[in-house]
């Protein structure tokens, strides 16, 4: 897509969300990163989805930034053929945000994955359960957090039985 179309998407986003967007950065040729505040997040996202006709969410990536937890919602807008990636920063000690699984049902498993690996609570999610980690994984330990080192995470894995087998 040409540069002018990317610009018009930027304008469209600005028109829809006004000053709710704190940063907006276009990565040529087809990607736009923008940041929203957690308070109005769901309302803003819904307006964006409705106005731009977005129906596809690729995934939600969670990043532990050490002072906060950043979620990036990777959406794809068919109308303009651009990827719209929405950042939202959450406090690290109690990360929680409203679930978007009712507006984008495709996000159900992605929210569960982020909950499982990073410990972000999605309020209003239909079944916020463990997705990837084993059933006997200790609660409150999230492997993708930066303060959980690989060696530490390995300790949780080696149960008594495996240790006995490994020693013998």
């Amino acid at each position: 897509m040409s540069k002018s179309e990317t610009l018009s998407v930027e304008d469209a986003i600005k028109r829809i969300l006004g000053d709710h967007v704190s940063t907006l950065q276009a990565v040529p040729p087809r990607y736009i990163f923008l940041e929203l505040r957690p308070e109005n997040f769901k309302y803003d996202l819904k307006r964006l989805i409705d106005e731009l006709g977005i129906w596809h969410i690729s995934t939600i990536s969670g990043v532990d930034l050490k002072d906060s937890i950043e979620l990036i919602y990777h959406l794809w807008c068919d109308r303009y053929s651009v990827g719209i990636f929405i950042r939202v920063k959450l406090p690290r000690d109690d990360p929680k945000i409203e679930s978007i699984s009712d507006i984008l049902p495709g996000a159900v498993l992605y929210e569960r994955e982020v909950y499982d690996l990073l410990g972000v609570r999605f309020l209003g999610h239909p079944a916020l359960e463990r997705l990837l980690l084993p059933e006997d994984w200790p609660d409150g330990v999230y492997p993708l957090r930066k303060d959980v080192s690989l060696e530490e995470a390995r300790k949780f894995m080696l149960g008594k039985r495996a240790k006995r087998n490994a020693d013998s």
Binding site: V27, R30, Y31, W55, H56, I57, S58, T59, S61, V63, D64, I72, H74, W76, D78, S81, G83, F85, L104, P105, G106, A107, V108, L109, Y110, E113, L117, R130, L131, L132, L133, P134, P143, L144, L150, A153
Partner: protein, 393 residues
């Protein structure tokens, strides 16, 4: 009749997301399906944060052995955006050729698995025999049969010589003829038609709502393909058609994949003829600048998504992967509602979940408190026998 629950799986964990389903049954009809994942969770995302960018490339290749080229292509495309380098044009064409060969091999493999599920083992043996030709080609180009290790950040490792191109053209002619035969089989053979047509229907609105990807959504008539919408490598220069079928059933998904093999054959021919000359790789620094990048690739199973964040060190700060099968799970659960137990193997196979992860089935009849264990093989036999007795619905 009381609702009965059956857990299925997870005895064949494949890919990043091997799956176990708990089915709720009303007699022979599935009324609900609930997925449980995580049996092959290997902690790759955390592990990659402790590897250098070059080491993480090999890790990404081993996420899936069937679509390994898609994974490395996605990784190097994303990493090149982080490093701010661009692969030379010839390397991009080689990536397209190897990716499409990989797609042919994956689709043929899948067609064989599907044929096995419907009890058509002759076709299974045929497709796996033809697949060996593709693997021989890939071995000739890359030196390996399954994990090719051809992509590297900043280019590719091996060039395609004119002799290799000639050999590849011959194999493409043979495969085109065979694929047309398979298409005829899928359309006309009563075994195939009876088991696949009108089974596991996914409506276009459901497909969009549940964010399905790849042949699963294209089989429901939604025209979306990362190669066209968000082109990477040299896909913006190689012409091809996006295949869609409107029916949304298992047969439509089969035909989408067979037609995609034919498209891939034409794309490989075009790319071999129009490959520019020049270098195949550029030098890349050890450390990328701080930043982040997103990469999307159309793997044989659909959209593959990578996100890499760099903090300026030799190791990625965050490495995020979303594989196409995970994206198709919500759509699969929708497709499983309202079908017969005997159709479960076919419907699960229809999204191509990297070899159906249902090697064992545990049946629990709640009303009688009875439990028994089925292997996938027994479920398959049950479905074949059920169809023998009931014929076509």
């Amino acid at each position: 009749m009381p609702i009965v629950e059956i857990p299925v799986g997870p005895q064949h964990p494949a890919l990043k997301e091997p799956i176990r389903f708990i089915f709720q049954l009303d007699g022979e009809i599935v009324v609900g399906a609930e997925p449980r994942l995580g049996y092959a969770h290997r902690g790759i995302e955390k592990l990659a944060e402790h590897r250098t960018y070059v080491q993480a490339l090999y890790l990404s290749e081993r996420i899936c052995g069937i679509c390994s080229v898609a994974h490395t292509t996605c990784y190097v495309e994303t990493a090149e955006r982080v490093f701010n380098v661009e692969a030379p044009p010839r390397a991009k064409y080689i990536r397209v050729i190897v990716s499409e060969l990989n797609r042919i091999h994956s689709h043929l493999l899948w067609l064989g698995i599907l044929a096995h599920e419907v009890g058509f083992d002759t076709l299974f043996m045929y497709t796996w025999r033809d697949r060996e030709m593709v693997l021989d080609l890939l071995e000739m180009i890359t030196g390996n049969r399954v994990l090719y290790a051809i992509n590297m950040i900043g280019g590719v490792r091996h060039d395609i010589t004119p002799e290799m191109a000639d050999k590849a053209r011959k194999v493409m002619d043979y495969l085109e003829e065979r694929t047309k035969y398979y298409k005829r089989v899928a359309e006309e053979d009563p075994v195939f038609n009876n088991r696949l047509a009108e089974v596991g229907i996914l409506s276009p609105s459901d497909a969009r709502r549940l964010c399905a990807v790849g042949p699963t959504i294209r089989g429901s008539g939604v025209k979306t393909d990362i190669r066209r919408d968000d082109p990477y490598s040299a896909y913006d220069e190689v012409p091809f058609n996006v295949i869609t079928y409107d029916e949304g059933d298992a047969l439509a998904k089969t035909l989408v994949r067979i037609d995609e093999i034919l498209e891939s054959i034409n794309m490989i021919r075009y790319a071999l003829d129009h490959m520019p000359g020049g270098e195949i790789s550029v030098r890349v620094p050890m450390r990328p600048p701080p930043g982040e990048a997103v990469g999307r690739v159309e793997a044989p199973r659909g959209e593959l998504f990578y996100y890499i964040k760099s903090d300026g060190t030799m190791r990625p700060y965050r490495f995020k992967v979303r594989t196409p099968t995970l994206a198709n799970i919500p759509a699969l659960c929708r497709m499983l509602e309202g079908i017969f137990v005997a159709d479960i193997p076919v419907v699960v196979a229809s999204i191509d979940p990297c070899i159906a992860c249902m090697d064992r089935v545990l049946l629990i009849d709640k009303s009688r408190g009875k439990k028994w264990v089925w292997t996938k093989e027994e479920l398959r036999r049950y479905s074949l026998k059920w169809y023998e007795e009931h014929g076509r619905r």
